[in-house]
Every structure is written in C-alpha cells, then in structure tokens.
C-alpha cells in the first residue's frame, strides 16, 4: 500500500480499489505548515515568478514530503502547466502517469484513459463498482452537508468548501472520512439558522486564501455555493455504475458551457445575490471571465489570488466593496 499523488481530481475509485492511498497534492500543499515556503523553494529551483502558485506548491510539497514516488498528472482538463511539472518531477525520480480529460468529453477517449489507469494499477471494473458504492454513501452525506449550507442555512461557507474539496481523496482513508463527516453533520444539524444580508456563490478553482469564507461572514455575507468543490464530490454520478459517464458529468475539466449551465441553475435554486469568480494569478482561466460576465445575470466580483496565506488588503477591499454594493 503506497501513496499515489494526483494534481487534480481523477477517478479516485481506481486508486482505492488498487489498495493504495490517494493523495490530492493541492491539499497537502495548502494545508502544510508553511505553504509560502514551498512557493519560494520552487521559484529557487527555477519555476518562473509569473506562473501559478498551485503548480509551485505541488512541486515542493511532493519533494518535501518524500513519501510519494508516483503521481498521476492531469495533463488535459486542468492546466497545461502540469505537462511541464511532470517532466521536472521525472528529473527528481518521481514517476508521473499522465491522465487526460478529453476536451471533446468523448466517451471512448475518456474510457481509454480510465482503462489505462486501471491497467497500470491492476484494477478491474468490479473492484471499482464495489468501492464506488462505498464512496457514494459518503457523497450522499456531502450533498446533505451542501443542503445544510444553502437550504437549511446552518453550515458555513468554509465548512461547505472544506468537506467538499476534501472528497477528491477522502483524506486517503474514506472510512475515517465517513465517520468524521457524520459527526460534523450531527454538529451542524443542531445549530440555529444563520442569517446573512447577502448570499454569495463562489466559482472557479478553490481559493489559495481559504479565510475568504470567514471574512465574508464578518461583513454580512455567506458563501452558499462552491462550484468546483461541489463538482469534486461527483454528486451527479451517485449510484451510477458507469465510471466513464460519472467522470464525463464532472463539469470542471471540460468546456465553460457545461460549467455555466451548472452555475446558472444553482444561482437560481440557491437564491444567490452575487458571484465571486476567483482566478489564480497567471492562469488562463482569467480569460474565461469575459464569457462568464456575459452569461451570468448576477453581479460578479472577479478576484485574483496569488500567494497562499491570509487574504491581503487588496482582496479585502474588493470583497468589502462588492458586498457593500450588492447589499439590499
């Protein structure tokens, strides 16, 4: 049993079914004691100043932890920096298995990628189905926690973010995750309803400054929808045994139109007053802002994050002004 890292959500069922421990490399970077140090280390190695902090953080986290010698690098559907990352990792003796979400969402192409992973990790379809059944039970609870956020108004934006984003690897131990989630749900259910003046949706990649959630709650707002984190839960594929179809329904790696359809529906259902569109500095997804602004009918704040740590004064100024602007 060994740790298998990955650069963004992949069919985690395959890793669990192979008897290994999946590790979402973004999570180990961002929850480390000193994520800023990881950025510095990568820049000293030669990663340009003007590239995404997540890639730099992932690189340093892998080398620092020294417990991961194999990773799955998603080279299509997330970020093309990953292509270069895996080549740099090869220099360090880290085995990198490329995985692609085809932009066409073609069933056969995605199916081939999944078959390739199954073959490498020596996993059969029946093993995947069996593991998926267990993960789906946890995913149902994640959907419930999400409802506790937007429907029952009891869970905070940060809780909604953290539990959903952690479902990419279920913290490497889904049984333990399952129990911890049940306890959290019990705790949240007992609360009285939260009241806020402004209901926000957060779209785009998860924030590099996760105190954004608590910050908006100090100024009368609350995030009731986390687009990509919710996508990581594969909620749309619960009870579906066709693993290829499940990962085709995952909106994040494919076109913007699929994401926008999801976002528009949730804005409506969750009665969202405004959207924070978060992009990482130097990320191509900043360009998508042009389309997003045209397509969504609610006020949008485009927020660009760079280094890990607490929200800086620039970001706070923007968020405060935006919330002030849309407060009825």
């Amino acid at each position: 049993m060994k740790k298998i890292g990955f650069t963004t959500s992949i069919p985690v069922e395959i890793i669990f079914a192979s008897g290994n421990v999946p590790v979402d490399l973004n999570n180990i970077f961002i929850t480390s004691k000193n994520p800023g140090k990881y950025i510095e280390l990568a820049e000293n190695t030669g990663f340009p100043r003007s590239t995404c902090a997540w890639i730099k953080g992932i690189y340093s986290a892998i080398l620092d932890k020294n417990e991961i010698d194999t990773i799955v690098g998603v080279v299509e559907g997330d970020c093309s920096n990953t292509k270069a990352l895996i080549e740099v990792l090869e220099l360090q003796g880290i085995r990198s298995i490329p995985f692609s979400y085809p932009i066409s969402r073609d069933y056969t192409l995605l199916g081939n990628e999944i078959k390739k992973l199954c073959s490498i990790f020596k996993v059969e379809a029946k093993d995947i189905i069996s593991i998926k059944k267990e993960l789906d039970e946890i995913r149902k609870n994640l959907v419930y926690l999400d409802e506790l956020t937007w429907k029952e108004d009891k869970a905070s934006g940060f809780e909604n973010h953290l539990w959903q984003v952690s479902s990419s690897d279920f913290e490497g131990d889904f049984k333990s995750f399952r129990e911890k989630l049940k306890e959290k749900i019990n705790e949240v259910e007992k609360r009285s309803k939260l009241k806020e003046n402004v209901r926000l949706g957060y779209i785009g990649v998860p924030p590099i400054n996760s105190d954004i959630y608590d910050f908006v709650e100090t100024i009368g707002a609350r995030v009731v929808f986390n687009e990509v984190q919710r996508q990581f839960t594969m909620a749309a594929g619960i009870n579906n045994e066709d693993i290829v179809e499940v990962y085709r329904m995952f909106t994040y790696p494919y076109s913007l139109s699929g994401r926008l359809e999801d976002i528009k529906r949730e804005i409506d259902v969750r009665k969202i007053d405004g959207i924070i569109h978060y992009t990482q500095s130097f990320c191509f997804r900043g360009i998508e802002d042009i389309v997003i602004r045209k397509e969504l009918d609610v006020p949008i704040l485009t927020l660009e994050g760079d280094r890990p740590g607490e929200l800086d004064a620039r970001s706070k100024l923007r968020i405060e002004s935006f919330v002030d602007m849309i407060t009825p």
């Binding site: 006020p299 004064a313 620039r314 706070k316 100024l317 923007r318 405060e320 002004s321 602007m325």
Partner: protein, 254 residues
C-alpha cells in the same frame, strides 16, 4: 450639523468639514505627519485631536481609506472607499448616471453608477504604471513638473514596457534617441492611458467623471475623448478631496 469626512490615503490625508451641505473647511496633510502630530493610538484605534486641527463642535465623523480594516478611527463611522468616492462624485457633479474614473497615487478605479447606485467596479492596485506615481517618476526623469507633463498629447513616442521601473529606462533610451520633450511627455501620458483603457472599455456610457490626483491631466482627457466611447468628460472641481467629501455626504444622509 457639523460633519467631518476623513480620507486616509497612503500618501496624504484629506479632511473636509460640512455644514448645511456646504464645505466650510478642508485640509490636506502628509499621512505620516498626520499620524505623528494629530493622532494617538488607544487600544489599537486612532484617536484624532480635532482641537489641534482647529475643528471644534464636530457632531459626526465619517472616515474612509485603503481597506476598511486599516481605518480604525474612534467614534467614526467607516465606509468603504469606493462608496465614498461615488458619493463625492455625485455630490460634486449632481449626476445620477455616469462612470467614475479615479486615478490616485498608487491605484486606479473605475466605478459604474446608475441611478445614484454603484453597480459595478474594477480596480487596479497592483500595477504602479497606471497610477499617479508613474507620472511623478517619469516627470522627474524628464526634468519637468507634472503640471507641464500633462499638457502634451501630440505624436507620443512609444513606451511599451509593462513595468513602471523599466519604463524609466525605456524613456531614457528615447531621450538619447533625440525625441523632443513634447513627444516624450505625450508618450508618458499615452502609455498611462493605454493601461487604463481596458478598464474603461468594460463600461459603455456617454459620461465619464474624473476624480483623484490625476484627474486634471489634459492629455488623458484628450485621449479618452478621442479613443473611447465617452463623449463627455467632467473633472470634479475638488478632485483630491472627493473621497472626504463623499464621507460628509454619507454622514449627512444616514
């Protein structure tokens, strides 16, 4: 009612006193001096000595500045900076629908105002090359005052550096190539315009109101009128005091 509006900027503090919807006092002080001479820190909050400022009988204090968390004045209502600037521009122009362009020393903002309400905004406070600091540095390189610099707009030399610091080297290069001062100055103004242009392009409107330290830049106004959709460009009368005025307006209406 005597209302004091305070705009705590990074370089200067602007103070305005309103009585019966009129400005009866205003003062601009260097920020460091203001903190040293007129403020005391009490439990992490700022206590301002209004008597020393010769401002007595204040009934209401409204403040703003860079980031609400940095403006912690005792007995004051703090409002978001963008709101202060919007209210100031509305009061100074009497307009209800306009786009506000505020270029300060270290940041620039564009705010869309419809029916007296702020409905959208875009800020740049990462790039010094689209702010007043850029003009200050470049006018120093040219050996002229900013007042002189801002008059020139014809046949601008190309200055393409992304960075304000490297822009200085590029300007020196242009000087060595023998370009006349007028074209060099025009080039500086035009390069500033090109950096704020994408922010302006986002908002389609007829009327642009300019405030902030760079508001009176004639060259900038020329480029805006000729290269954007804005037909009318109005500069508020008291551009530097705009934020502090907006604070007073807020204090009056709340």
């Amino acid at each position: 009612m005597k209302i004091v509006g305070i705009d705590l900027g990074s370089r200067s503090v602007k103070i305005v006193l309103f009585e019966d919807n009129k400005i009866t006092f205003n003062k601009v002080l260097d920020t460091a001096l203001f903190y040293r001479e007129y403020c005391k820190s009490i439990d992490g909050r700022i206590n301002i000595d209004f008597d020393k400022l010769e401002l007595g009988g204040i009934e209401r204090i409204v403040g703003t500045g860079y980031g609400r968390n940095n403006v912690n004045i005792i007995n004051a209502k703090i409002i978001v900076e963008l709101k202060a600037h919007t209210l100031g521009a509305m009061w100074q122009t009497g307009l209800k629908d306009f786009i506000l362009l505020d270029i300060g020393g270290q940041d620039s903002k564009v705010i869309s105002v419809k029916n007296c309400k702020m409905i959208d905004m875009i800020l740049n406070d990462k790039c010094a090359a689209s702010c007043g600091r850029y003009l200050e540095n470049m006018s120093t390189v040219l050996g002229i005052s900013i007042d002189t610099l801002e008059k020139y707009y014809e046949a601008p030399v190309e200055l393409s550096s992304t960075c304000a610091v490297f822009g200085e080297s590029e300007l020196i290069g242009r000087i060595s190539e023998g370009y006349p001062l007028e074209q060099l100055a025009a080039g500086v103004n035009y390069s500033l315009f090109l950096r704020i242009k994408p922010m302006l392009e986002r908002f389609k409107s007829e009327t642009l109101v300019m405030a902030g330290g760079v508001a009176g830049n004639e060259a900038l106004m020329y480029f805006i009128k000729n290269e954007t959709c804005f037909k009318e460009v109005i500069v508020v009368e008291k551009s530097q005091l705009n934020g502090a005025i907006g604070c007073c307006v807020y204090g009056m209406n709340s």
